[in-house]
Symmetry: C2
Subunit: 335 residues, 2 copies
């Protein structure tokens, strides 16, 4: 017998389990004397309520599910920190899954969390996800869902994002303002809404300043350092090498930077560079990288808060809400 139960306490005190249960939750009906006896024995036997049993009974869970592409990735781990922070204060524990950027695993993750009857889910989509039926299933099961950063455009669900278009537009406009004319874009995957928005911001900035859109300057790819290296490798092979590169995120910017340096070019003299996210390590590189700040911790906080608002609303579902946080161009030495 490892864990003390309510029945153990009831037996020892010659009370009914109902009374013990009420005493433990400080029900007004119960006499102070009984409460004291129960509490004393509970402390003595190190009683801890079985949350599993409690959840089954009350149909309320104190767990929140989180799915991200990769836990080790500064942006996501910072978001998770923010989520945990707020969840902790509200008495929730988080269950964390990673999709490894694959659709299959994301689907399995949503199933596992649903089977665990989490109170709600917070998801940042995998790069490989185009079918969003699994999210519909989650919602049909009555599990509140909030998407953050990597969201699905055509899913009617609450979201927390940043002004990706604006952020990209501002970054590219700034590059143009510093005299750059041949600005390339390492764009990530077009399957992700967030990437499409950033690309649109890039394109709009060029057009608004009367610069041509050159297809060879827009390269798709992934979101990791190696994708940045590879993309940069391709750009350097061009007839007319770009004089600036705006990347879909910071890891790609860092990969691009490393490749540029290895090839003997200089940032920013030969090529200016702007990333997206403001991961801490962008400030560590020499030259320190210009980047678009994304408030990762705050995204996490807002996402859980939004989710918990749904818990509070009971069974009448709240209207869908999209929170758009402001980005900010952090100008440093790579531009």
């Amino acid at each position: 017998m490892r864990h003390t139960t309510i029945n153990d306490i009831a037996r020892q005190l010659r009370l009914s389990p109902s009374t013990v249960s009420r005493a433990l939750r400080d029900h007004p009906d119960i006499s102070q004397k009984t409460k004291n006896r129960v509490l004393a024995l509970a402390t003595e036997t190190n009683y801890q309520p079985n949350l599993i049993a409690q959840s089954l009974q009350t149909k309320r869970s104190n767990n929140i599910g989180v799915i991200v592409p990769e836990i080790r990735n500064t942006f996501f781990s910072t978001v998770i920190s923010g989520i945990e922070e707020v969840a902790y204060d509200a008495g929730y524990t988080i269950m964390v899954c990673q999709s490894n950027d694959t659709y299959e695993r994301e689907v399995i993750n949503t199933r596992a969390l649903a089977a665990n009857r989490v109170a709600g889910m917070l998801v940042s989509m995998s790069q490989g996800t185009t079918d969003i039926e699994h999210f519909r299933t989650v919602m049909q099961q009555g599990i509140p869902l909030v998407l953050f950063d990597r969201v699905a455009e055509d899913l009617e669900v609450s979201k927390v994002i940043v002004d990706d278009f604006e952020g990209a537009y501002g970054a590219v406009s700034y590059l143009i303002g510093t005299g750059r004319r041949r600005i390339a874009h390492l764009a990530g995957s077009s399957s992700l809404y967030v990437s499409r928005k950033r690309r649109e911001g890039y394109e709009a900035a060029l057009m608004d300043h009367g610069l041509p859109l050159r297809p060879e300057y827009i390269l798709g790819g992934g979101y990791h350092e190696e994708d940045g290296r590879y993309g940069m490798h391709q750009l350097l092979a061009l007839q007319e090498v770009p004089d600036a590169v705006f990347t879909v995120n910071d890891p790609v910017a860092i990969g691009a930077f490393l490749h540029i340096r290895e090839q003997g070019f200089s940032v920013p003299d030969d090529i200016a560079l702007v990333g997206f996210s403001n991961n801490p390590n962008t400030a560590l590189i020499t030259p320190r990288l210009t980047t678009v700040n994304q408030p990762a911790f705050e995204i996490g906080r807002q996402a859980v808060s939004l989710l918990m608002k749904n818990f509070a609303s009971g069974h009448n579902p709240l209207p869908v809400e999209t929170i758009i946080l402001k980005t900010q161009l952090i100008i440093r030495e790579s531009t």
Copy 2:
């Protein structure tokens, strides 16, 4: 009615819940025909077993609790990635808590996870923890526990660590080999076993090479960038400024580096620098930082594996085991 239950299926098929339960778990007693009917309806109604109810009944949980000082901190988020990877393959989901490096919150975290009746716990201790009674409680409750990286010396429990002494000894010996003689150490908190071991390695290396131990060269502190800055600030104020610094971890090394640079000194010309962990961003700084590699992802993998070995052993507890992973000195440009 959101989630389909076994009873729903039983009613529709005019079967008993027991039969449905058996059919679902492919029990040999049940006829193939019945199994087919059950499975078909289960799929159609999108039945997902209620893991909560299952856990309560079987007294087995498919959740593993993880407590780290901080989720956003490359080392820990990488360990968590490793944990999730192995846990996922074995059908477990992880519940992640952060102690924010405080004892109080660590205690609350262990309680919350115990109340959730996790199958086991994986913990890296907070800086503020000296009393380890809460871990004893966890063990008394029959919850397998494995400590990693930041472990308690006098707790009889399985652990996954690296050869901290060796790692430190090797790093400092290397510094001595390159001609450095005034080697300081930013040592972290002496409450942590891991820090004491690294410090011992530092001291042993000095002594073995006939160098004096200078108290003013050994500075306690925390584990973050700002602690490195502050420690370095103090070292630079010394009569005789050190010509090398070995730090308890990489964030501290980075803080020290930034302060050195801001003060107009050069790494490694004026001061050589060695960190500990080999966080990815140490390779991003110019000059790239020499550091002691700690296999973070592997630490995570080994820790869960050890934990799961305990699940398998049933109620006869396994002998305590300590896995010591090898470190490796990564020589780069800061030395």
